[in-house]
Symmetry: C2
């Protein structure tokens, strides 16, 4: 997905939020905003938003000296999600269609996102999901595609959401590679976060090699790209992965995300809050 001009005010909003999470020093926060401002005239609009977000979060790291501003937030999100694990697991197992329930939960788990929505309430979200709809519903195609595949490449998104992903991976029951960001960026899951969420018990955890809040193929490691190129099915979670991978017609990718911003809602022709399960044509 290209960068829309509407993304530009939001880049500043995100930079402000991340910088203030990292530091109380308003001069440093201003310096982060100044760096972001200097990027704007150079911004190629055909690059995806995570390309710019990558530079924003680098600016936050460099100016504040804080490598992982959302560390505590991520830790809390994982603990909260782990505390729900047994309940969610039995919700899936006792349901009529465990795969569909696990998919729905995994999309609902995508609400954990301080950048887009700092005040998420996962329990409130869970109460709502079963009456939620999946407007771009490729569930049946997804189910059939999964059935044929022996292996799954799963692209993680936020820490905490990882626990919801784990349940979906367990429900799918195939050999899985779970790809995460190379370094901390916003609250996106890293290897450490995936391990804390118990993903290591159900999948091989791998860094994508990418330091952006998305999966920008040009910035991924050769190891990841070999798996990506040979994958039988790719489960891509969240907005950042969608923004950087949308239009991948040639790859068997399914996007599972909760729509949290007006630009993506308008791009997809859906509403904010909608849960999306779509294939590479998205």
């Amino acid at each position: 997905m290209k960068t829309y001009l509407d993304c530009i005010p939001c880049f500043f909003k995100q930079a402000l939020f991340a910088a203030r999470t990292a530091t109380d020093d308003e001069r440093k926060t201003k310096e982060v905003l100044d760096r972001v401002a200097r990027l704007i005239p150079l911004l190629p609009l055909d690059s995806s938003p995570p390309e710019t977000a990558r530079l924003i979060y680098r600016a936050v790291r460099e100016v504040t000296g804080v490598f992982d501003p959302f560390r505590i937030y991520k830790q809390r999100s994982i603990e909260k999600a782990l505390s729900l694990y047994e309940e969610l697991k039995s919700m899936v197992e006792s349901s009529k269609d465990p795969l569909q329930t696990a998919v729905t939960l995994a999309i609902a788990g995508n609400v954990i996102d301080p950048g887009a929505n700092p005040d998420f309430d996962i329990e409130e979200e869970l109460k709502g999901i079963m009456i939620g709809t999946i407007p771009l519903n490729e569930y049946e195609f997804f189910r059939q595609s999964l059935k044929k595949a022996q292996t799954v490449l799963y692209l993680g998104d936020n820490a905490g959401e990882t626990v919801f992903d784990r349940i979906l991976i367990e429900t799918i029951g195939k050999k899985t590679v779970y790809a995460v960001r190379d370094i901390p960026v916003i609250n996106d899951a890293t290897i450490e976060d995936a391990q804390k969420s118990g993903i290591g018990k159900v999948a091989r955890i791998l860094s994508s090699g990418c330091d952006a809040p998305g999966t920008i193929l040009e910035r991924c490691s050769r190891e990841f790209l070999e798996i990506f190129d040979g994958a039988e099915i790719i489960v891509s979670k969240g907005q950042g992965n969608f923004e950087s991978l949308s239009g991948q017609w040639e790859r068997p990718v399914f996007f599972l995300l909760k729509v949290k911003c007006p630009v993506i809602a308008s791009h997809l022709g859906v509403k904010i809050g909608d849960m999306i399960l779509g294939d590479g044509r998205l």
Copy 2:
């Protein structure tokens, strides 16, 4: 009021909205955003937000070549407000305290603001106002101060709101100078807009000399400053005038505004949507 870092994302949002109102050419809109971006590193935070807004709307004019992008919006706002004039006037005249009703209506009229709130609904607003509260209620002090004054300096804000101002000016019944922006900026009233609203019948209309969406004294004309400095009472409408004049302890200024942004809400310790009547101590 100083510029808060939270104003920076909003500057881009405003620039985007104004540029798109002026042109369909996304390249020109991007050029406006680029110009705003180049301002940010140079931005002195002790300047008030209208100082920066002034440069933003100048960039919109220069890049798009459109001198008054909100012309049609202003025209519609004035017509809509004029169509309510008789009803509002009789609401004031039949009320127990006509001045208080006229003040409340004048503050409610401040909702006409496409920058802060493009989807305003003045009739919806009017339905709500009589149950609205004025949290920083200096009404009694305002009433007493008005009583002592022979003349009033009234600082207008948005076109359309001008009709509400006219009713307040008629209700006050003193000799009044009504100050407006020197050139079109957002939907702020100019001399032409004030005339169309019938202000000319009840007050002397004067340009402040300032081309910002506020009253930045350093940028006002000598003629305006002489009136400002000698004023017995100053009625200042809206956020922009508040942002540029707040802390004017030494002048008998009263701020009448509807709080439309989180930064001002937090600065004043009130909620968005609150109606404010406060004096120079604000």
